[in-house]
Amino acid sequence: MPVLLKTTSPQDIENPYRVIPAEIYDIVQESPLIRTLKLRPDEPIVFKTGQFIELSIPGVGEGPFTPSSSHFETERMDVTIMKTGFVTNTIHQAKTGDRVGLRGPFGSHYPLDTFEGKNILILGGGCGLAPLRSLFLTLVHEIDRYNSITFFAGAKSPKDCIYKQAVDEWKQYPKVTFVRAVDEVPAGQEWHEDVGVVTVLLNKLDIDPADNPAVVCGPPVMMKFGARDLLEYGFREDRLYLSMEKKMYCGFGQCRHCVMGKYYACKDGPVFTYEQIKNEEDIWE
């Protein structure tokens, strides 16, 4: 008769560290520092737009990234990645046919149910456009559910703009307003659209802020000032959605690296309303 009995949680839960291998079937160089990996996972990955995955380069390391493709696509996944350090440098050396690992999806997602019938504002810059592209493509997939989409996208300079080929197409979509701005136009680069930080585009906005959702994603400074400007404009704290970027290892609330006061950026976020986090520790850094 065995002495030992199972005591802890009885159901055998799937290992959250399990890696799903995926093949890179194409790579799009979006800008000098940003590229999109087009991945085919060995098994479908079902996620909700706004959630993230952990992408690993075998033997090198892993990092959190948000799929930039629609959540209606599960057989394939796009991930748009900026070169900023050790792991992402290696990702930028990857070639078509290489295999990477995926874990997840993890975290919270954009509450699309509450967006129904609304005029949705999407505001982002730099690599923050990755999750916003996913959101945008997911929304247009069922565009009948929503009243309109306004997408304001920012970049440092014309050559830093990403999703170049797609943008012309997006501008043609019904119910969609897509506007871009660059911070500056260095000599020798051409630009016929807006110039200034992305929030200057708010003066082109023609929706009632009190009743509609706004989604912001971008570098920390952009999020901080973007949130401030949107609140000033009249958007509600509980309808202003921010995607928080913190150091993450596990992705599901067990390494504590992403803790912001009582919240985990990975498990309770990455998508938070401004109202949730405004009084927490360390939110903008």
């Binding site: 008769m1 065995p2 002495v3 030992l4 009995l5 199972k6 005591t7 802890t8 949680s9 839960i13 290992n15 959250p16 560290y17 399990r18 890696v19 291998p21 690993s56 380069i57 075998p58 033997g59 090198v60 390391g61 892993e62 990092g63 900026m82 900023t84 350090g85 992402t88 295999r99 690992g101 920390p220 970027e245 913190k246 150091k247 290892y249 596990c250 599901f252 609330g253 067990q254 390494c255 504590r256 690296h257 803790v259 006061g261 009582k262 520790e281 360390d282 850094e285």
Partner: protein, 342 residues
């Protein structure tokens, strides 16, 4: 149930040797140095002698269930063990680790396996260390529940208490192999008296330090007092590594050729790189901020996460500290500060 201590140790040795159901028995053992009174968890062998009661081991029970470095994917098979001589403060820490690592949606596979395959025998403290302060954080020097078996020493015997089904099964096996006796009422009283005596010693030792039910105020203190308290902190991270409730991890990718392998290893929020994101920004660039984070984690954040504070009063961080910082003293000082600034 009463059992002779020597008989019990022999039973454990035999069980470990047979290796059919239990492949290892881990017990507290004195250090080799004669003047060192500390104990360490070691596998029970023919030649070493366990010291079950005393006070907590130097190494927390965490080290045996949540290893400093461990493969989590693919998860590896663990072995069946008995871990004996665990103290109340360490058992309480396991409750917190359970809440953190085994919550319904996600489960750390390696921790779960060690937890399932380790039978835990706790023992009452019959001594205290100078840093012990379980009494300041709603604890006591003996376990009340959550163990499989508990040992209280009465002269040459152990009074054994059963705390779980698998503890009960082990006791059946003990009874079938060695002589046991029924404890008398006066012997039970004796245990109560001993427990009270240790509580009194703890209360006496920790008189200068206050306790609180308002730790959430710690957040409101401005930086200057934190700077004072952390003056001698060198950021070594010993306090977090040795703490039975700290579980911060780094995930390392150790994949080979076409096999993905994930290992986790201990990390510490006292290190500068801990929360650093791409581009080098970190929310806590100064040592004072990281020092403060440890206290807020234990007394504020964890309370929100697990409905309990993250300190069980074991005092290990105080003993490990290179900067000779007494954890109790810091909490006492800052807590008074928090009450004053509120």
């Amino acid at each position: 149930m009463l059992i002779n201590i020597q008989d019990f140790i022999e039973f454990l040795r035999k069980t470990a040797q047979q290796g059919d159901q239990i492949s290892q028995v881990v017990v507290p053992v004195r250090s080799e140095y004669a003047d060192d009174t500390h104990t360490f968890f070691r596998p029970l062998t023919e030649s070493n002698t366990p010291l079950f009661n005393s006070y907590r081991t130097v190494d927390p029970a965490k080290f045996l269930l949540y290893l400093p470095r461990e493969q989590v994917f693919p998860a590896e098979q663990t072995k069946n063990r008995i871990l004996a001589g665990v103290k109340a403060c360490d058992l309480k820490a396991l409750e917190l680790l359970d809440a953190a690592l085994l919550y319904d949606q996600f489960t750390d596979p390696a921790y779960k396996q060690w937890r399932d395959s380790t039978l835990i025998i706790t023992s009452d403290c019959d001594d205290i260390s100078s840093s012990c302060h379980c009494n300041l954080v709603n604890g006591q020097p003996f376990a009340e529940n959550g163990y499989d078996l508990n040992l209280s020493q009465i002269k040459n015997d152990f009074l054994i208490t059963v705390g779980s089904d698998r503890g009960d099964k082990l006791l059946d096996r003990i009874k079938s192999e060695i002589k046991t006796r029924k404890a008398s009422e006066s012997q039970r009283m004796q245990v109560e008296k001993q427990r009270k005596r240790i509580i009194e010693r703890l209360t006496g030792q920790n008189k200068p330090y206050s306790r609180s039910s308002h730790y959430e105020k710690l957040r409101t203190i401005d930086p200057a007092p934190w700077q004072d308290e952390s003056m001698t902190c060198i950021g070594c991270g010993a306090c977090t590594h040795i703490c039975p409730t700290c579980y911060c991890l780094i995930l390392n990718d150790e994949s080979k050729a076409d096999q993905f392998i994930k290992q986790r290893s201990f990390d510490s929020c006292q290190y500068n790189g801990y929360a650093r994101v791409a581009g080098g920004a970190t929310p806590r660039p100064s040592m004072t901020e990281r020092f403060r984070n440890r206290y807020l984690c234990k007394f504020d954040y964890m309370v929100h996460n697990f409905e309990k504070i993250g300190c069980t009063g074991c005092g290990r961080c105080t003993q490990a500290c290179a900067g000779e910082i007494d954890f109790r003293q810091v909490v006492h000082n800052l807590q008074n500060m928090a009450i004053a600034v509120q």
